[in-house]
């Protein structure tokens, strides 16, 4: 493996910035629009919550830092810098550690790219979403295609590693249109691309429109064909899928996201941030911060952190989670590593007859060392997991 596995002594750190210039109608992330943000207060709160987390984790080897959102490119670079410094002071950030920041393609954000680099960020992920103005507008985005492309060019210029996101299988999108768009995207791409099929999330304006029949998405067959085309074209371009929706050149996968999919520990700070920590007593817990930005801020000021009560994750639950996250990855799950991490054997979590049927059907492969979903299996992973695990 090129990218080393997480260990009980390692930690990924996620920092959630909950503000956006505008709420996109399809988005169910914890993102909020506020007229103004007290940047100093927010910076101080992040720094305090980091200290709290340090007291829970003890010393760890930091594998990655990720600023997600919301729109973290709206942060003051000084805040980013202070957070990175604090992480370094509390845990130590080894040379070359991946530090990613999600950026929206607005001009004000892009102007700050160099300042973010100076702050310590070495990788950006740009939310391009679509490559034509009409579709961007239909997605409710504030930027046009030209701006998005400029942002990607700027990212390529300023950062050694960058990625960008596209949403496909959008309203009215044809297979041919997606093929062309992806072709164009691959020409602009660096070492990494995230390509998501549009998901209608409950509680979003798109959900309401969809229910009313005012948004019509490509049907299952078209969606499937788009997914298949995506796999072929990215592979041909040297950026094969390493996860359901993520593509990278060899060795250029997102270290941070790999921690999620491989079952490593991660600390999450900021409103609504989730974390997974193995505590000193060996207990595995899921952590979760208050979602509402103001409440989070108030809690941090009052008690030093915005955490909700932890949820203990039992071994068998953890093992099931490992399966459902691990099979998202093309690399699959190594039987030995799985058992070392969860204390449970893969074969005790899956149903052997189901596994056999899935292998015969070409959806799963298992050579006794690694179990993985094939491309066909990943394309139907939800059904596959239900079939294999339930």
């Amino acid at each position: 493996m090129i990218i080393p596995l997480p260990t009980p002594e390692s930690l990924a750190i996620y920092v959630h910035w909950p503000f956006c210039a505008k709420k996109c109608p399809y988005c169910d992330f914890n993102s909020h629009v506020r007229e103004s943000v007290d940047h100093t207060a927010w910076r101080d709160a992040y720094l305090r919550e980091l200290q709290h987390l340090r007291s829970l984790t003890g010393p760890r080897e930091v594998l990655s830092v990720f600023f997600g959102g919301g729109t973290p490119s709206l942060m003051l670079p000084g805040t980013t810098a202070a957070i990175i410094e604090a992480i370094d002071a509390l845990w130590g950030i080894p040379q070359g550690t991946e530090i990613t920041l999600e950026a929206n393609p607005g001009s004000s954000e892009v102007e700050k790219f160099r300042a973010f680099r100076t702050a310590g960020v070495n990788r950006v992920s740009v939310g391009v979403q679509a490559l034509n103005d009409a579709d961007l507008q239909a997605l409710g985005r504030l930027h046009g295609a030209a701006e998005a492309k400029a942002a990607v060019r700027m990212a390529a210029e300023v950062f050694t590693r960058f990625s960008f996101d596209l949403i496909y299988a959008r309203q009215g999108q044809s297979l041919a249109a997606w093929r062309d768009e992806l072709h164009e995207a691959l020409a602009m791409a660096g070492g990494h691309l995230s390509l998501y099929q549009l998901t209608i999330e409950e509680g979003t304006p798109f959900h309401t429109l969809f229910q009313r029949g005012e948004i019509i998405l490509p049907d299952e067959d078209t969606g499937a064909a788009m997914y298949e085309v995506t796999q072929e074209m990215t592979a041909a371009a040297g950026l094969p899928a390493y996860e359901i929706s993520n593509h990278a050149r060899l060795g250029d996968a997102s270290r941070h996201n790999l921690v999620y999919w491989r079952g490593g520990d991660y600390a999450g700070i900021g409103p609504g941030a989730h974390g997974r920590l193995t505590l000193a007593d060996g207990q595995r817990v899921a952590t979760r911060m208050h979602r509402a930005p103001e409440i989070w801020l108030e809690r941090v000021n009052a008690v030093g952190h915005g955490a909700q009560p932890f949820e203990v994750i039992a071994d068998d639950a953890f093992a099931r989670e490992r399966m459902l996250m691990g099979l998202r990855l093309s690399e699959g799950i190594n039987h030995h590593d799985f058992q070392a991490l969860t204390g449970v054997a893969v074969n005790d979590v899956i149903k052997p007859e189901a596994a056999r049927a899935l292998i015969d059907g070409g959806f799963l492969s298992d050579d006794g060392r690694v179990i993985s979903a094939t491309a066909a299996g990943r394309q139907r992973l939800n059904a596959l997991l239900a079939y294999l695990l339930n």
Binding site: Y14, Y196, E220, G223, R276, Y387, N390
Partner: protein
């Protein structure tokens, strides 16, 4: 104490929903049977299911006291009966206990199928009939037309039919006077040995088994030793009383009276409806004609969705059967659905009601199989058998002849829908016996195989006629039929619960329908699913559920892990409601919907 001259016993009979129970309310209210504040609509319909559906299922008896214009006080024994054809046997029992009947006809709808069926029963019992034209408050009421119709169709004099509105209380005084002046009084010999008719029995959680009787001759008192003539069993009467509609203990019942008795009987199976009750000491020498036992006409199996609830289902059906002698049941096991019960019912409504009571009163989730009928088989080895369950059908080579039950159905329908109804009867192998008109309403009498009727016939009838057709039927013998068993297979495995016996001419259509329906009901899965219908070894229909092409969550990051796992855990819970067929999972809801009788999609 009332002289027989001052007693009137009558049943209220009508087509369903023509207002019998509401009329009973008005009579009870006017006679002061209950305080005004205790009054509620259709107060005799005291089962939850009756109140909710607004229909009467069980006949009820009430004693009222009425002071007539002649200044005398009369004892009125009123029996409210159900209108629905499934419960026709309740009507026949009530009629046997009365001298008269109020024939209620809806002033806007006129004579319907059950009006006819019930009035003929009353005439067969030699009852005096007083026609009552109800709902005259409705704008569409047409009393003159309905009178004419009663004369034309039924052939009884309707010139002094009493117009009423049970809803607004119009005509109730006239009706009460009519009951007193036009209905005959009972004329039993008070000095003869006790002769009473056992009209009904039920289980009351407080009183135990209660029997309803009509005394024809002699008197019954508390402490009397009673003899039940069909069984010979003897019991001492501990309580004797009447319903007003409250329980009132009177201590005795005299000739011509109706009331209840409790006498330490443990279960209703010890009582035989229609039995003659007499005194053990001085028995009567003439036995009343009694009734034919009610026979189940429609059968289906009930399986618990959660197979661990089989015992609970057994207990619950047992409890309902305590009060419902016409509910038959027997344990059975199915490869598709596990352990359950094969049940016999009076008809589709009875089936539906039992099912609903099981689910509501006992909190059972059930899968009912398709309703079917009883077949008689002559086997090649010279023996014969009755077949209640398609699953038990012997191999074709062992069957010499199959006989199926036929019915005689009377359908009343407005002219404009007649064509559709005739076509429906034709499709269902019906043979026309009569077709007559009364004004713009047609009355078609058909012989039909019952098998064709239990399969969604009633729904089709209603939908073709936009609800305007009504139907009544009686069993009309068994006839040889070219019947086959239709099997449904999923990936070559038979779903025994879906197999059914059908006429050969219908088999392919039925098979195709079921396959198509299952195709829509079974969600797409990892693997392709073949659904087939076969007769013997021959496949007559096939549908495929193609495999899923794509089903994956695009985004899944740190925050989603437990949420996704919980979703998976919940699916696992839901799996209890799935049945596994090879590599295919079929949600039980698919069975349930596939088994819904109505197939007009």
């Amino acid at each position: 104490m009332t002289d027989q001259k001052h007693i009137r016993n009558f049943s209220i009979i009508a087509h369903i929903d023509h207002g019998k129970s509401t009329l009973a309310d008005r009579l009870i209210q006017t006679c002061g049977g209950v305080e005004l504040r205790e009054m509620k609509e259709q107060m005799l319909d005291n089962m939850d299911i009756e109140r909710e559906r607004g229909i009467t299922i069980k006949a009820q008896t009430v004693r009222l006291s009425y002071t007539a214009k002649d200044g005398l006080t009369y004892q009125l024994n009123l029996m409210d009966t159900p209108g629905h054809v499934d419960f026709a046997y309740e009507v026949s029992r009530s009629l046997a206990a009365c001298e008269g009947a109020l024939l209620v006809v809806d002033a806007s709808q006129g004579v319907e199928a059950q009006t006819l069926a019930n009035v003929y029963q009353a005439l067969d019992n030699n009852l005096e009939i007083v026609p009552v034209i109800n709902k005259i408050d409705l704008p569409a009421a047409d009393v003159a037309r309905v009178k004419q119709q009663i004369e034309d169709v039924i052939g009884i004099d309707a010139s002094d039919a009493i117009p009423t509105s049970a809803k607004s209380g119009i005509g109730i005084d006239e009706l009460l006077e009519g009951i007193v002046t036009r209905l005959p009084c009972p004329k039993g010999d008070p000095n003869a040995p006790l002769k009473a008719l056992l009209v009904d029995s039920w289980y009351d959680p407080y009183l135990g088994v209660v029997i309803l009787v009509r005394v024809f001759e002699g008197t019954v008192k508390v402490k009397d030793k009673l003899r039940f003539m069909s069984t010979g069993a003897a019991y001492e009467a501990d309580r004797v009383g009447v319903f007003t509609p409250k329980h009132v203990m009177t201590g005795e019942l005299k000739p011509g009276e109706m009331g209840f008795i409790t006498c330490g009987i443990k279960t209703i199976t010890e009582t035989k409806i229609g039995d003659t009750i007499t005194l053990d000491r001085t028995p009567t020498s003439n036995i009343l004609a009694g009734f034919k036992p009610s026979v189940p006409m429609v059968f289906c199996s009930l399986f618990p969705v959660d197979s661990s609830e089989f015992e609970k289902l057994r207990e619950s059906i047992g409890k309902l059967a305590l009060n419902d002698a016409s509910l038959h049941y027997e344990a059975e096991s199915s490869n598709a659905l596990g352990m359950g019960f094969r049940c016999g019912f009076l008809g589709l409504l009875h089936l539906e009601i039992i099912q609903e009571r099981l689910s509501r009163e006992f909190n059972l989730e059930l899968i009912p199989t398709a309703p079917s009928v009883v077949y008689k088989l002559d086997l090649t080895n010279g023996t014969d058998m009755e077949l209640y369950n398609p699953a038990d059908m012997p191999d074709v080579v062992r069957i010499k002849t199959i006989y199926e039950p036929w019915i005689k159905a009377t359908i009343m329908v407005p002219d404009e829908y007649l064509g559709g109804i005739l076509q429906l009867c034709q499709e269902r192998r019906g043979v026309q016996k009569e077709l007559t008109w009364v004004g713009s309403r047609a009355m078609a009498v058909y012989r039909l195989p019952l098998n064709e009727v239990v399969f969604d016939f009633y729904d089709r009838l209603k939908s073709i006629s936009r609800g305007y057709a009504s139907m009544d039927y009686v069993l009309d013998g068994f006839e040889e039929g070219d019947l086959v068993r239709l099997n449904i297979l999923v990936n070559q495995e038979p779903l025994d619960a879906l197999s059914m016996i059908v006429h050969r001419s219908q088999a392919e259509r039925r098979g195709r329908q079921l396959c198509e329906r299952l195709k829509d009901l079974i969600p797409r899965q990892m693997f392709k699913i073949a659904i087939q219908a076969s007769i013997g070894g021959k496949v007559v229909a096939r549908e495929d559920v193609s495999a899923l092409r794509k089903d994956v969550t695009a985004k899944c990051y740190g925050g989603d892990i437990s949420r996704k796992r919980k979703l998976l855990d919940k699916q696992k819970e839901g799996k209890k409601k799935m049945r596994q067929y090879g590599n295919v999972e079929i949600p039980q809801s698919a069975f349930i919907s596939a088994l819904r009788m109505n197939d007009n999609k």
